[in-house]
Amino acid sequence: MATAGKLMDVSVWRADGKREGFDAFQVPRQESQTILDVVTWIQQNADPSLAYRFSCRVGMCGSCAMMVNGQPRWTCRTHVQKVLKDNQLKIAPLRNLPVIRDLVTDMTEFFDKWVAAEGVFHGTKTRDEPMAPINHESPERIEASAAIECINCAVCYAACDVVANNPDYLGPAALNRAWALVNDVRDGADSARLDAVSGSGGCHNCHSMGNCMQFCPNELNPTASIAGLKRATVKAFFGRGG
């Protein structure tokens, strides 16, 4: 292909506590090149001070998530030929999270909100009791299984405009996990969880704009999960006598 060897114009966000801004690099185009390949090339050949995160580089861990031309994506699974526009690329850290340095964000609030939404499994049995028999065809297990594959990459968190506008908002990932656990018959924390997602940062702030569903690399649907939480909380509200 004629593309290999050409130079691309790549802007990369830099921040080191002293200055912030986009740095420009000229990166050689290659066959089958991913954005992660581009960032790695820059660090290895142009600027060794560039900080970024990755781990598996095969689309399983979610560590390499960044904003690529304005969209939150896994950089190891984003081919340059799919996103290159006018021979240009713009790479920035995930939106809605504080930046530690360059392309590395501080994920603390993301995980704190996961816990605050009771995205934590509360078991009701001991190891001495028999295993819980789970029917995989039951409606609850189908819901839980549909939501369970979240690997906490924060792409949805970066995509969500409610997260951007409401600092208290727990976010799509945390709420999606809460929904998965609401549907887990082995979990014993149902009413605490419904309370946890009913505050000023809770599920009722979701406007169903669907950016989360649009961008989740695991094709999860937090919009649907959050709608489920809305139904569950309203049912509980009227069930308890209002």
């Binding site: 409401n166 505050g199 000023s200 809770g202 309203v234 509200f237």
Partner: protein, 110 residues
């Protein structure tokens, strides 16, 4: 900024307004034919307890629904915190309710 109670109030008033909306749109499409005039409108509504109840309830629901909606916009787009956003909500509620109630009175009982 919406918690469970405000959310339920928002959605409940929305649902409650659905039949009012359909009726209002139908009446407007009927009424606007041949041009509008005060006497034509008032001829239909004056002295009518039915219209007073209809539009009275509509105004109440719309005031609740609209004020909660504006509160969300004030907190998400203007960054207002809980206190000031609550004041905005209360103000919008009172304006819509008082002006709406006056309008209902004006066309039915006035």
């Amino acid at each position: 900024m919406l918690d469970l109670k405000l959310y339920i109030l928002q959605r409940a008033t929305a649902l409650a307004m659905a039949p009012f909306m359909v009726a209002h749109l139908a009446v407007m499409i009927y009424a606007v034919q041949g041009g509008l005039s005060a006497s034509e409108i008032l001829g239909r509504t004056q002295g009518s307890v039915g219209w007073a109840l209809f539009y009275g309830l509509f105004v109440l629901a719309a005031s609740i629904h609209g004020s909660i909606g504006v509160r969300v916009i004030a907190s998400e787009w203007l960054g207002l915190k809980r206190g000031p956003a609550g004041i905005v909500m209360a103000t919008v509620f009172l304006v819509l309710l008082t002006m709406g109630a006056r309008a209902v009175w004006a066309v039915t009982m006035g």
